[in-house]
């Protein structure tokens, strides 16, 4: 059977796995849980592959291919089907999600081997896959929104997986609430869209948009509202604060949700809605600005972090910034491209970091590491590859995508020098702190007690995914290779039908200067520069960083404390909120009004009961008399009616 007509299978498989593990997993052995979880995801992956195979053979006029399964809700003009669609963009996301997801499932079996609530973890993970696929496949904004919120839920559950640890539970809450703020905007955006287009179905929206132009103001509002949602979900300024804390969750979770898939949902959404955005220049500009600033800003924070995962978290934030920058300057395909490569290398980075932490028995502070190069070679090499990729060293995946983005920022239709500058600086800092991470972790002398911490390479189940991802981090970007020798980017060409309206096709140039231009581009330069600086500071003169910190203490402390953003938020938002909640909502509204009503009614009931219970005399004759009274009353009534009716 053509699986395209049964896309729901893609959703059903992980959901089934989640249900089985969640309901019965408690009594299963680890093997069973593993086979169920991985099996479901692997099957989903295979189904996705098959779907893509069939998709590729589809004639162009049947794209996007929409499958409507049942009418979900109908209220007057408001009509929502449960419909799934697949087009080029979906294909990319589908492959990324299912494949990386599968790898991370496998990895988790090794990483979580010694954890309690094993089945719970995998049930959540499968559930996440389900929602993520819903998000990606949804053919209308409502279905997409379900996935959108669902992944948020799973992220909450998984961040707080060790809910006995207060920090983890708090982090979960923080993530949920912060994203909720963004989602509020997103929801309003949905309402506005429906109000404008009388539909929430992607194709319908785009068609009607193409047919009769909508006033730019409305579009801008819509786009900015949607973008707030993206800001929340994809951790952009000013709502990025939840992502670093989300590192409380298990590392595979960080890899899957907070690097590879969920956080990129915002980017996906913006790309999906590109017809709207591209008609709203101001919104585009906002997106671009937010993206660029985030990219730069969080990169700077990354410099001073000591927790290995925190560094990666901030780098994720900044990479997401790059993606939005791409979208903002109209290079959606570049954004998605970066999304994909980022999924590979950032996932790899996290997994490798996880492997390091695994090796160090849960130690996350880079200052207590060092010299692990020999002890855990596989982890080291794979992580190095990922770092080269993210730093944008030519030949690695990250190079192509980041280059495409910056080029778009520089020469694209919406080119803007300042944004470009921010991007480039960000790239420099990125490569610097990434290599700082590498050097601190793997080079130099061990800064931990060798005898106490028996460092060991991770099991096969963890290393294999690392290697696979490393492979992808190298070759995952070579779709763009032909561009260097003057061709067009395969990736861009593939995605052209989706973004065609938005993007101008790249003008062909002659091979030689294309190659030259590519190799002499700024990204390469800054990438190498960052590498050198890091090398100098942390290999040649390990004492220098401290001196630097001393010399520019205020800046350092500012950065080290992440610009005190959490504190500021706490002071500006959380404290007032707490105060109002405590003194008004709690003591006045809840205790005074609500409890008053409840207790009052209870008291009333008791009073009346005390009176009425006298009727319950236990004396049959009294009861009989009451019945009799009722009977007489009724007959009187009936006969009265009868009389008036007849005579």
């Amino acid at each position: 059977m053509p699986i395209l007509d049964h896309l729901w299978i893609l959703l059903a498989l992980p959901l089934l796995g989640s249900a089985i593990n969640g309901l019965f997993g408690k009594n299963f052995s680890k093997t069973v849980v593993n086979s169920v979880a991985i099996g479901s995801v692997a099957l989903a992956f295979l189904a996705a592959v098959e779907a893509v195979r069939e998709f590729v053979q589809l004639p162009a006029d049947q794209i996007p291919h929409v499958g409507t399964y049942f009418t979900w809700m109908v209220a007057g003009p408001f009509h929502v089907d449960f419909a799934l669609q697949i087009d080029q963009l979906t294909v990319v996301m589908l492959m990324v999600v299912t494949f990386v997801g599968m790898l991370i499932h496998i990895y988790s079996t090794g990483y979580m081997a010694h954890e309690g609530g094993y089945y719970r973890f995998f049930s959540y993970l499968n559930l996440f896959m389900f929602f993520m696929l819903t998000l990606v496949l949804g053919a209308n904004l409502i279905v997409m929104f379900v996935g959108w919120e669902g992944v948020g839920l799973c992220s909450y559950l998984l961040i707080g997986f060790w809910f006995l640890k207060k920090s983890a539970a708090d982090a979960g809450k923080k993530a949920f609430i912060t994203t909720r703020i963004g989602d509020f905007g997103f929801t309003v955006g949905l309402l506005l869209i429906f109000a404008t287009f009388r539909s929430l179905d992607f194709q319908t929206i785009f068609k009607s948009l193409a047919a009769n132009p909508v006033s730019e103001g409305v579009l801008t509002t819509i786009c900015i509202l949607l973008f707030t949602g993206a800001i929340g979900k994809s951790a952009q300024l000013p709502l990025y604060v939840w992502l670093p804390d989300a590192m409380e969750g298990p590392t595979p979770v960080s890899a899957l949700i907070h690097a590879a898939t969920m956080v990129t949902a915002g980017v996906y959404m913006v790309a999906r809605m590109n017809p709207l955005f591209s008609r709203a220049p101001i919104a585009m500009l906002v997106v671009a600005i937010v993206g660029a600033i985030t990219a730069f800003y969080s990169a700077t924070i990354g410099i001073a972090q000591t927790d290995i995962k925190k560094v990666l978290a901030y780098s994720t934030v900044s990479q997401l910034g790059y993606m939005f920058l791409a979208c903002g300057v109209g290079a959606y395909s570049a954004g998605i491209f970066h999304l994909m490569t980022h999924a590979f290398f950032k996932g790899l980075l996290f997994l490798a970091a996880g492997s390091v932490i695994h090796a160090m028995d849960g130690e996350q502070d880079m200052r207590k590491m060092g010299g692990l190069r020999k002890k855990i070679p596989i982890t080291f090499w794979t992580m190095l590859i990922a770092t080269l990729a993210i730093a944008g060293i030519p030949g690695f995946a990250g190079y192509f995508s980041k280059d495409a983005i910056l080029e778009a920022a520089a020469t694209g239709p919406h080119a803007n020098f300042i944004l470009w500058l921010l991007g480039v600086t960000g790239a420099l800092i990125t490569s610097f702190y990434m290599f700082r991470l590498i050097f601190l972790t793997f080079f130099g002398e061990p800064r931990f007690d060798e005898h106490k911490a028996h460092v060991h390479e991770s099991p096969r189940s963890m290393t294999v995914p690392l290697m696979v991802l490393a492979f992808l981090s190298i070759f995952g970007g070579w779709f763009a290779l032909p561009k260097m020798i003057g061709g067009a980017n395969y990736f861009e060409r593939f995605l052209a039908p989706v973004f065609g309206a938005a993007e101008a096709p790249p003008e062909p140039t002659s091979p030689s200067d294309a190659l030259l231009h590519a190799l002499l581009s700024w990204p390469v330069f800054v990438g190498l520069l960052g590498l050198l600086i890091a090398c100098y500071l942390y290999l040649k003169r390990p004492d220098l960083p401290k001196k630097l910190a001393q010399s520019m203490r205020p800046l350092y402390t500012l950065i080290f404390n992440k610009y005190y953003v959490d504190e500021i938020y706490g002071f500006l938002i959380v404290r007032p909120l707490l105060w109002i909640s405590t003194n008004v909502l709690w003591h006045v509204v809840d205790e005074g009004v609500i409890d008053g009503v409840v207790n009052g009614s209870a008291h009333l009931a008791r009073l009346s009961g005390r009176q009425v219970r006298r009727l319950q005399s236990g004396n049959t004759r009294s009861y009989a008399s009451w019945v009799l009274i009722g009977v007489v009353g009724f007959t009187v009534l009936l006969l009265a009616l009868f009389v008036t009716g007849v005579h």
């Binding site: 005399s617 004396n619 004759r621 009294s622 008399s625 009799l628 007959t635």
Partner: protein, 167 residues
């Protein structure tokens, strides 16, 4: 004043008297006897109404079995006369008067409401009524009939369970 009319008033009076006696008597046995009197009187009325079979059943089952059961139980327990306590004010001041009201007023209503449909002695339709009754009972009302048999069975079981001595 033809025979049936005389009989009607006679038996009606007997029935009412029996009912009043049932209330007045303090000795349960006397109440039971009064009730039997009522039943017999009613049986005669059924005869008047041309339903001899029902009359017979009334006597056999009601007077002959059910009331015997009552008498039997009264004798078995032999708890003496009933004590006229008045713990229930509501019954004293509302129940009984209301009952009186109900009687008078319902009787009045029934006497005056419908056009007085005449009823003869019903002689001559006895056999036919019995035959028709049986056909009705075993054809149209077969299911309820069987249901009642089940009901009886259940009642027997219930009585047995209740009466059984726990050892």
């Amino acid at each position: 004043m033809s025979l049936p009319v005389i009989l009607f008033f006679l038996c009606g009076a007997l029935a009412v008297a029996g009912a009043i006696l049932l209330i007045a008597a303090r000795e349960p046995i006397h109440s039971a006897l009064a009730l039997i009197l009522v039943m017999v009187a009613l049986a005669v009325l059924y005869l008047l109404l041309g339903a001899p079979f029902v009359a017979a059943v009334q006597i056999i089952v009601y007077a002959g079995a059910i009331m015997v059961l009552f008498v039997f139980v009264i004798m078995l327990l032999n708890m003496g006369v009933e004590e006229r306590t008045d713990f229930s004010q509501i019954a004293k001041y509302f129940g009984i008067p209301l009952g009186g009201v109900l009687i008078v007023w319902a009787a009045y209503w029934l006497l005056h409401s419908r056009p007085a449909a005449a009823i003869g002695t019903g002689s001559g339709m006895e056999a036919s009524s019995t035959r028709g009754l049986s056909t009705l009972l075993f054809r149209q009302y077969l299911f309820p009939f069987e249901a009642t048999s089940i009901l009886i069975l259940i009642a027997i079981l219930g009585a047995l369970v209740l009466a059984r001595k726990e050892e």
